[in-house]
């Protein structure tokens, strides 16, 4: 028996070495910039990852740099391996685009001082590691206006990924937007506990629809909550990308990302030798994010209202988290005359829901 297996092995080796002779090897080319991306979902997820991949392609076109990516990389130890592989393949700039990659990225940054790292949506930096995100609460608030005007049942569903400040602040901003036009509406939250899993996201949306919601919003990467809404004749808001083709009868608008210009700027500064670790968080004004154009499904009066608030946001005269703000129990969290800064909105203390949200943050049970 042993001999058979050894023979088998030898054959495999032979076949492989034959291939090896004609095979190519990935060479690292001098001091040129080569950019690697680590993605949580498939590049065609219709959401978060696709928005980043669009940014990557824009970068490739604009600066003619070589890019590489790894898709569907889990947030555990696998992500370190993906980063190592990209570096091994010659990448000297790495963008990691999911919250859970933060600590692995930091660890890799320490091990690879010559590689520049960018982590999206976290809060840690190092000498060779920047973080970047955006003031997503701005378009979230605007999308809340659309939802608040659309709902008839005054129940709006929100499919949400994890109980982290990024997601919680989005729900809060959305709810504030809803209540600015419709004080009687409530926002019901369902946790999917995944960034991308179309089945789980859909289940959460269906549960919300069963609960009487007639508009579904989401902080998840696939379009399945929007499809679930369309199947029930309800309405939906997307996230990340203009996804009007996924559920045309339900989709009204979506808070969207536009990463391309940021990627171009950063990589350009690296090429010019001007890299400096930083924490970037642009808003609608900077163009990194926005609200997608409203479709005909959106309520007619929404457009003017959204435009009005959006204009103030661009001018810098509008704060989403402006006092007085109460939490679900009625305790005042932001007093009159104060507002939350970016660091507070995305900081550890963002572990409460504003009044009008129905749901709980399980982490703080």
């Amino acid at each position: 028996m042993t001999k058979k297996v050894i023979a088998l092995v030898l054959v495999v080796m032979m076949a492989f070495s034959l291939a090896l002779m004609t095979g190519c090897s990935a060479g690292t080319s001098g001091s040129k910039v080569k950019v690697g991306f680590v993605f949580i979902g498939p590049v065609k997820d219709g959401g978060w990852t696709e928005a980043h991949a669009n940014g990557m392609n824009y970068l490739k076109e604009q600066l003619k740099v070589e890019t590489m990516h790894r898709e569907m990389v889990p947030e555990g130890p696998e992500s370190k391996k993906a980063i190592k592989e990209l570096i091994n393949a010659g990448c000297n700039v790495i963008f990691t685009t999911s919250f859970g990659y933060m600590d692995p990225t930091l660890e890799m940054a320490k091990e690879n001082p010559n590689v520049k790292f960018y982590h999206c949506s976290g809060f840690k930096t190092a000498d060779n590691m920047s973080n970047y995100f955006g003031r997503m609460h701005e378009p979230r608030y605007l999308s809340g206006i659309v939802a608040g005007l659309k709902t008839k049942s005054n129940k709006i569903g929100y499919v949400a990924a994890y109980e982290i400040p990024e997601v919680i602040s989005g729900i809060n901003a959305f709810t504030l937007g809803v209540q600015s036009v419709n004080p009687n509406a409530v926002v019901k939250v369902r946790w999917s506990h995944t960034w991308i899993d179309s089945a789980k996201e859909k289940d959460a949306a269906v549960a919300l629809l069963d609960d009487g919601c007639d508009v579904i919003s989401q902080h998840n990467d696939s379009t399945s909550p929007q499809i679930a809404a369309q199947e029930r004749g309800a309405f939906a808001l997307g996230y990340n990308l203009d996804s009007r083709n996924a559920a045309p009868k339900a989709y009204m608008t979506a808070p969207i990302w536009n990463w391309g210009p940021y990627y171009v700027n950063e990589v350009k500064s690296i090429m010019e030798g001007k890299f400096k670790a930083s924490a970037y968080h642009g808003g609608i004004k900077e163009g990194i994010l926005d609200l997608a154009p409203l479709t005909d499904v959106a309520p007619a009066e929404a457009k003017a209202k959204v435009e009005e608030v959006r204009k103030k946001m661009v001018e810098g005269s509008f704060e989403v988290f402006k006092g007085p703000l109460q939490d679900q129990t009625g305790t005042v969290k932001v007093p009159e005359g104060k507002f939350l800064t970016y660091e507070e909105i995305f900081g550890t203390d963002m572990n409460w829901f504003v009044k009008g949200v129905e749901g709980k943050i399980e982490a703080q049970k």
Partner: protein, 359 residues
């Protein structure tokens, strides 16, 4: 009608021929798939090898993948030797990682050697006990261990999920469901650039080989696997031997969990195993329950997995396509085992005719 019968007449040369044919067919079929994807199959196969051996980095990664496969396969092989179909290695890895993490998170300030030793003991105990539960029910009530051990996997996974989302969630992680990283003392040291799991794995290959083939207990396990009645007739304490063997089997899987949690994840998480417990069933089987062969087969598997990861990076082949590629190769290799063990013929041909033809 198609009939299947056990082969008894195959010569060594014939079985080698069949295996060669299987590998060639696998490479050919997968090659067509690669062509459809728009790449040159030879370049892709070449790149798989470059990825797995081409440089120090790739080689290290291959070894890192081999280590848990070997340790887990050795564990499974002991149970399989006794014809106890332990499909629960995945769960035993999780519980082993849990036991090790319990020690690592609660006693982070113990001296490194002591802490690592205690983590290993914790891992082995938890993995062993997890395997012992289905063994106990089989011995007492005659339950089916294949299903029982399989189901235990999901309980273990959900247990770790519960810890990660609940009581063990790191308060420093801003609400993200993650268990705190281990302290420096709880991480396996490196030797020659790779964590010392590789030494543990090599020692275990040697030790398990010795145990099965050259000790009384090892022999008794083999006898029970062949016939429990014979074992009983020969005066062996069957229950005691089963308990020992299953503890050892689950314990080794638990040790693999400890190694992964300590050296790779550096914490406990639902990703700590990454499906090794299932892959190891295949490597155990292809390794024909023999320790040295398991080492070899596990290494080849690691080459395939690492090569598959590399081509995703270099050729930007989608992750799903790389998995399909690995699945195709596996399908043919496993398929050839079937045709080596059995022959298939149509009813209008009698079995005796076929034997005469000497296929």
């Amino acid at each position: 009608m198609i009939r299947i019968a056990k082969r008894t007449d195959l010569t060594k040369l014939q079985s080698i021929k069949m295996r060669i044919a299987a590998v060639l067919l696998a490479l050919l079929t997968a090659g067509i798939f690669i062509l459809v994807l728009g790449h040159n199959p030879l370049s892709v196969y070449g790149a798989m090898l470059v990825g797995a051996f081409g440089n120090l980095y790739g080689f290290k990664e291959t070894i890192l993948l081999t280590i848990p496969l070997v340790i887990t396969s050795l564990g499974i092989s002991i149970a399989f030797k006794m014809k106890f179909w332990n499909i629960g290695a995945e769960g035993q890895i999780f519980m082993g990682a849990f036991g090790a993490s319990f020690v690592a998170l609660n006693f982070p300030h113990l001296p490194k050697p002591l802490l690592l030793l205690l983590m290993a003991v914790g891992g082995i105990l938890c993995g062993g006990i997890w395997a012992l539960v289905p063994a106990f029910f089989k011995a007492q009530f005659g339950t089916n261990e294949t299903l029982f051990t399989l189901m235990m996997n999901y309980i273990a996974l959900k247990w770790v999920t519960y810890l990660q989302y609940g009581p063990w969630r790191d308060p420093q992680a801003n609400g993200f469901p993650k268990i705190a990283d281990f302290g420096e003392n709880a991480i396996l040291p490196k030797f020659l650039g790779i964590h010392i799991g590789w030494i543990i794995a090599l020692v275990l290959v040697f030790a398990i080989n010795l145990f099965i083939h050259h000790t009384k207990k090892g022999y008794e396990i083999s006898v029970i696997g062949e016939s429990e009645n014979t074992a009983r007739y020969a005066g062996m304490d069957v229950k005691k031997i089963i308990v020992l063997a299953i503890l050892l089997s689950g314990g080794l899987c638990g040790l693999a969990g400890m190694v992964q949690a300590s050296a790779i994840s550096k914490t406990l998480s639902v990703d700590v195993s990454g499906g090794i417990g299932f892959t190891a069933i295949i490597t155990t089987w292809l390794g024909q329950l023999s320790s040295p062969l398991i080492l070899l087969v596990s290494f080849l598997f690691a080459v395939m997995i690492q090569g598959g990861a590399y081509i995703q990076t270099v050729f930007q082949i989608p992750q799903a396509a790389a998995s399909v590629l690995q699945g195709m190769i596996l399908f043919f290799v496993l398929g050839s085992e079937f045709f080596i063990q059995y022959k298939v013929f149509f009813r209008n041909q009698s079995a005796s005719e076929l034997t005469k033809e000497g296929i």
